[in-house]
Symmetry: C2
Subunit: 150 residues, 2 copies
């Protein structure tokens, strides 16, 4: 069910979707985008501060975004992403962890363009133990169903 | 040349590294993490607001982070990433674009742990025309050379 700018209300929340992250995917992502030993080398990581391999925070972010798209909320209405605020990696994501997403609408405002408005989504990613692993806000331009007067 | 917490000074800047982004990589990334037509489908994107395929902003972020690591500044000193603030996708990144990175130290502060401090890096990614395509700040824990009194 795709929603448009008019359909979103501050305070609304949506949740759903989960994804398990295999070690091989953690390592493959890190090789391409975040080649640091804590994400790549299990033996090194076992001796490190996290006592084991942890996913790249950028990988965690990308998976959280994928989960957001899977909700289908903006499938027909996403105009473009403007940015991200207040991203915090709060706990490590480890091989085999299963993460799930909750999204809340925290702000909406019209733009000078009549066919789209600005929506701020607050994303919270939790692991299988119910612990928050990452939070961030995404700011997006979302299409209107009907042009508003500009 | 790896730098430690003590070596960084607010106002210092570093630049270097460039990377060209082929269309195939844009599409492959989008298929996995950001499956939206503006990143996946050239014909659809040609008719869209950007008049052509554009890279996922999450892809652009991951490439910018890779360029940062390639500078080698934190190769031995990165403890972990804490978060990201004020990320803005300012212009589209298109197939064949070549992006390059400039990084400035905008804040540093000790932590309660004697072996690491907090550094805020401001990242600016520009394209081959000298236009800024993305800016963001990363907050990281960086190891100290010598433990400071806690």
């Amino acid at each position: 069910m795709s929603l448009f700018y008019e359909d979103f209300t501050v305070g609304q929340s949506f949740s759903g979707g989960r994804r398990t992250i295999p070690e091989a995917e953690i390592i493959q992502f890190a090789q391409i985008y975040d080649p640091q030993n804590m994400h790549l080398d299990r033996l090194y990581a076992d001796e490190g501060p996290f006592h084991g391999l942890i996913a790249s925070g950028f990988h965690t972010l990308c998976l959280a975004w994928w989960l957001f798209l899977q909700l289908g909320l903006v499938q027909e209405s996403m105009w473009v992403g403007i940015g991200i605020d207040a991203l915090r990696w709060q706990r490590p994501v480890r091989p085999g962890d299963t993460v799930s997403l909750k999204v809340e609408i925290v702000d909406k405002s019209p733009t000078s363009a009549p066919d789209r408005g600005r929506i701020v989504f607050s994303h919270t990613l939790t692991n299988q133990h119910g612990e928050t692993v990452m939070t961030y806000q995404s700011i997006n331009l979302i299409s209107c169903k009907v042009d508003h007067p500009s």
